[in-house]
């Protein structure tokens, strides 16, 4: 099986050096594109590949780039930002890419910047990712010294300045417009859209924000072509995906697998199945802000549309397993505590609704809840649903809650009936 994201990585956990990356064919896609393709050619190839955003939303990457105005009168500079602010609960996939092969991200960024005509690029990295920071700094130095960054890359007239921004925390920085405010040195409050960042982003200039894993897919697409890339996926969606599993499984970890691999294959074959004495009760398929799926969904293909039809989202592709000895109410309470804490406070439904939600869940978990609280929680899932808030934080927070209320109703009611947590 082909593994364009991780295939070159060393087994010992050390980052690939520039020499090792080049020996494995690294930067050959960049050479090919800079010498024989236009930026538009790169966009067309990526559009044809059907590469969809790996940060969680699944927006087609080539289409996103094509919204950047390219006329002579369009504002300059244009910016490309790699979103390396991986903070979704349960997500650890971008860290593996940053640590294992930082040059893959750099090559993907240079190619993407060339495609959209960006002159300046940033990597927006969360502050706690200390080892990725060291490895990226080294890779940027190596690439700069080799003429792969800076003025006249590989002797062409394409130039790109690339900087590393170390973030000072807060989940909301992962939201693309919150990220842009943070990059500008401000509070990371999301911006209302339109205008979209592609037209008016960082410092009011055209800007594209792409997830790390999305960008890491670009070199393979340019090198081997859109058709090859589409052939990597097992169903509708193209390419490979880093799938991760955490929770009470025998071998938690992350693996690069074809898009469309089944949930069962990921959980049983790769993660080794449940730990002894634990049974599968549910799974959050794409991080903390996705709806629960049930054991009956195990044979489902993990791709954007299939997971969407089942009522959840592929999200980050990092699965969190709920076992039968963990209280689902407690788990959702933990998630809503997180979201309430991480709300930026800008818009009312999120700022006031999430702490309220957290309080109701605390009451139920501690045995003080009533059946009326359950209908109030259901109301909240509607009041904070899509379209009611400036950004996707609150709607994301409602996803595990609304599905837990549906699938684990009996657990909620038992807490209320017995006036205690039955899992304690």
């Amino acid at each position: 099986m082909e593994r364009p994201l991780t295939g070159l990585m060393r087994g010992d956990g050390v980052a690939l050096s520039l020499t090792e990356y080049r020996d494995g064919g690294g930067y050959s896609a960049l050479e090919k594109a800079l010498k024989s393709w236009s930026g538009e050619d790169v966009i067309e190839e990526v559009k044809a590949s059907n590469l969809r955003g790996r940060g969680g939303a699944g927006f087609p990457a080539g289409l996103k780039w094509s919204f950047v105005p390219r006329t002579d009168k369009a504002p300059r500079p244009r910016y490309l930002v790699a979103n390396a602010d991986e903070m979704e609960p349960g997500a650890f996939k971008d860290r593996l890419l940053l640590e294992g092969n930082p040059h893959l991200l750099l090559e993907g960024m240079i190619l993407s910047a060339y495609a959209m005509g960006a002159e300046v690029a940033y990597i927006f990295l969360r502050g706690e990712y200390v080892e990725p920071r060291r490895r990226l700094r080294r890779a940027i130095d190596e690439a700069s010294a080799a003429g792969l960054l800076g003025r006249n890359i590989l002797g062409t007239d394409f130039s790109l300045d690339l900087y590393l921004h170390i973030s000072a925390g807060r989940y909301i920085c992962g939201e693309e417009t919150g990220l842009l405010n943070a990059l500008e040195g401000k509070r990371a409050t999301p911006r209302s859209k339109p205008p979209f960042p592609q037209v008016s982003g960082a410092w009011g200039k055209p800007t594209v924000v792409n997830n790390v894993e999305t960008l890491c897919n670009v070199p393979g697409i340019v090198r081997h072509g859109a058709e090859w890339y589409r052939g990597l996926g097992l169903a509708e969606d193209s390419g490979t995906k880093l799938f991760g599993v955490s929770g009470r499984v025998r071998q938690p970890g992350a693996w690069e697998l074809p898009m469309g691999t089944t949930l069962r294959n990921i959980l049983e074959k790769h993660a080794g199945g449940m730990c002894d004495g634990y049974h599968l009760k549910g799974v959050l398929p794409g991080g903390g802000s996705t709806d629960f799926l049930l054991p009956e969904h195990l044979d489902m293909a993990m791709d954007y549309d299939t997971v969407g039809k089942a009522g959840s989202r592929l999200g980050t592709g990092t699965l969190i397993v709920l076992d039968d000895k963990t209280c689902p109410v407690g788990m959702v309470l933990n998630l809503e505590r997180f979201f309430a804490q991480e709300s930026c406070g800008w818009c009312t439904p999120c700022r006031d609704g999430l702490p309220w939600t957290r309080q109701l869940l605390e009451d139920i978990e501690d045995g003080r809840g009533s059946l009326e609280d359950l209908s109030t929680l259901e109301d909240h899932t509607a009041f904070m649903g899509p379209g009611k808030t400036v950004c996707a934080l609150a709607p994301g927070a409602m996803e595990p809650l609304q599905s837990a209320l549906k699938f684990y109703r009996e657990d909620f009611e038992q807490h209320i009936r017995e006036g205690r947590c039955p899992y304690d």
């Binding site: 609960p89 040195g185 955490s246």
Partner: protein
């Protein structure tokens, strides 16, 4: 609320050390605007002084040509900027969902027993401060925490004792 005393740029230049100013200026080339350096400047000062005092906020503001309230609005937004004194080593204990399922509350209780501190508290000798942190991206090795710049994985109370003992040597 913090109260910021109006001073002049010379005071700010005097307050910030050469090393701090050099490190802030090293970042200046990466951003098109001076006020975009606010987060970088807060981090630089915190790296040197351990935390960000009212005077530090005022000095950064004067140095970057910003209002002190503007800088403080930024400083108080970000959880990795400390607006109160912290211990020499900050323990960031992940309390997000996977670490919660796999025992972060046991670690919190154990730190309470061993060091006598809970979230937001500093040991009497000024060595450690304990803070909760959102998902550290170590979910495949939960539960996890950071001490200073180091991530520690697959923790139980015994392993935590071993790590703390090593760091005290």
């Amino acid at each position: 609320m913090a109260e910021f005393i109006a001073r002049d740029r010379n005071w700010a230049l005097d307050y910030l050390t050469d090393a701090e100013r050099d490190e802030i200026e090293a970042e200046a080339a990466c951003y098109p605007r001076r006020d975009s350096l606010a987060i970088e400047a807060l981090r630089v000062v915190q790296n040197h002084r351990g935390w960000v005092s009212d005077d530090s906020v005022a000095a950064i503001a004067d140095y970057l040509g910003m209002g002190a309230a503007q800088v403080d609005a930024v400083a108080t937004f970000y959880n990795l900027i400390f607006r109160e004194p912290v211990g020499k080593k900050v323990i960031l204990l992940c309390n997000s969902v996977v670490c919660w399922m796999q025992g972060c509350e046991r670690l919190r209780a154990h730190i309470g027993e061993r060091l006598g501190i809970d979230y937001g508290e500093t040991t009497g000798d000024g060595e450690y401060t304990l803070l909760p942190i959102t998902c550290l991206g170590d979910c495949d090795h939960a539960p996890a925490l950071m001490i200073g710049d180091d991530h520690h994985h697959d923790l139980d109370t015994k392993e935590l004792d071993r790590i703390l003992a090593t760091r005290e040597d």
